[in-house]
Symmetry: C2
């Protein structure tokens, strides 16, 4: 992990841009974080639009988490931002765009082609990032995962035992295979659903929530479209992490 | 309104049993409530099982609300507790019991016979209680409604302009006609759904949530059966009232 720039935000949060091999990432730590008082960590997921585009929303979530005493970090997704595209993903995105423009339902094979390779590539990268982040003396556990592509969150919750709670955002296409994986998730979940999300099949989101194996899972549905998550829903998600990650 | 007994609970909450004509009720006010500092009021709905039976859950909700600075009050439902039964309601309850024991679906005519007269009778009584409660110098507005028979909450939200926010509990049979009324609700809503509620049709609960006309409405679904609402869901409901009722 190689820090390439750092700045102190006005609320005392330290923002560090880093690279992990070829992968760009950002780490935010609250002013309170220190070697003698390491803080819990929340991995901030995001849609595959490139870190630069999603930065404003990420930094808002990072500051919210910092106010609760948590470090946060994120890495660029494979095929997004400055990272190299791969042809199959470009093809799948084009197919998706065409299906959406045609107004028809998006076929399972398009969703699979779009999501499954992304999940397969991204998850080991987030795990490698976790290795590097937890090696920092001011960052400790427990670790949470929040938001972004829900299939990545599901896979991480299944395969990464260091993640002990997750806030998932029901807002993207979910391959059928992920419903089976969802049954193997056992950590506490807080699932956000935007009731009028244009890009989201509400019924599928409810079915996925039903499929999660976790004994503690909460669905919080709010009015509005994909990016209209109300402030109080962010507060509720932060409280979920405070319940599960505070030591 | 005639106070028949009062006691101070250990956290300073003043509990007063009263009658309003023939109707028994209970009022809880936080220690902070005074003539010079009147507090907002939350009406506590409850299932038609009689106040004596639901008292333990009611007093817990009352203390939770008092800790947020709110008075709470409840009145006995018509046909419950010590109040006189009426034959049509007894018949409807017997029909419901028979339908549930037979394991079949509960017909719309049974739900209508059970719920519509209850709503028609109860709502004016809660409004009369509200008149009496708001006449007390230590009780002010705004007013919220919380829980209980969801159809009563829906009707109150439509017809009673003094109620400015409601926490509804999706856990009872809902007459078809209430879906139309739900569309006329415009106040902020926080709807609790127990995902595995034996006595509740989850699909109908989601449809009812969808039908509400309110611009701000949140569905919070948690695992567990009818009476298994987790502590943190109570906290979230209290925060909803704090957002909407605090002055």
């Amino acid at each position: 992990m190689h820090v390439i720039s750092e700045q102190r935000l006005e609320d005392g949060v330290l923002e560090r841009e880093f690279t992990l091999g070829e992968i760009p990432g950002i780490l935010w730590t609250p002013a309170s974080a220190s070697v003698s008082a390491p803080v819990p960590l929340v991995l901030l997921g995001h849609p595959p639009m490139g870190l630069r585009l999603v930065y404003p929303r990420l930094v808002a979530r990072a500051r919210h988490c910092a106010a609760e005493g948590f470090a946060t970090a994120t890495v660029e997704l494979p095929g997004s931002g400055e990272r190299p595209r791969w042809p199959a993903a470009e093809q799948a995105r084009a197919d998706l765009r065409r299906a959406l423009e045609a107004g028809g339902p998006v076929g399972g094979e398009i969703v699979d082609a779009l999501m499954l390779p992304l999940v397969d590539k991204a998850v080991p990268e987030w795990q490698a990032a976790l290795d590097a982040l937890l090696a920092l003396p001011e960052v400790g556990g427990p670790v949470g995962y929040s938001g972004g592509v829900i299939s990545i969150g599901v896979r991480l919750a299944v395969v990464e035992p260091r993640i002990s709670a997750a806030v998932l955002f029901a807002g993207s296409f979910v391959p059928r295979a992920m419903f089976e994986e969802a049954g193997r998730v056992t950590i506490p979940l807080h699932v956000l659903l935007q009731w009028d999300d244009e890009g989201n099949d509400r019924r599928a989101a409810l079915d996925l929530f039903d499929a999660f194996g976790s004994k503690e899972k909460t669905l919080q549905a709010n009015m509005g479209g994909h990016t209209g998550v109300p402030q109080f829903a962010g507060d509720a998600a932060a409280q979920f992490f405070t319940r599960h990650l505070s030591r």
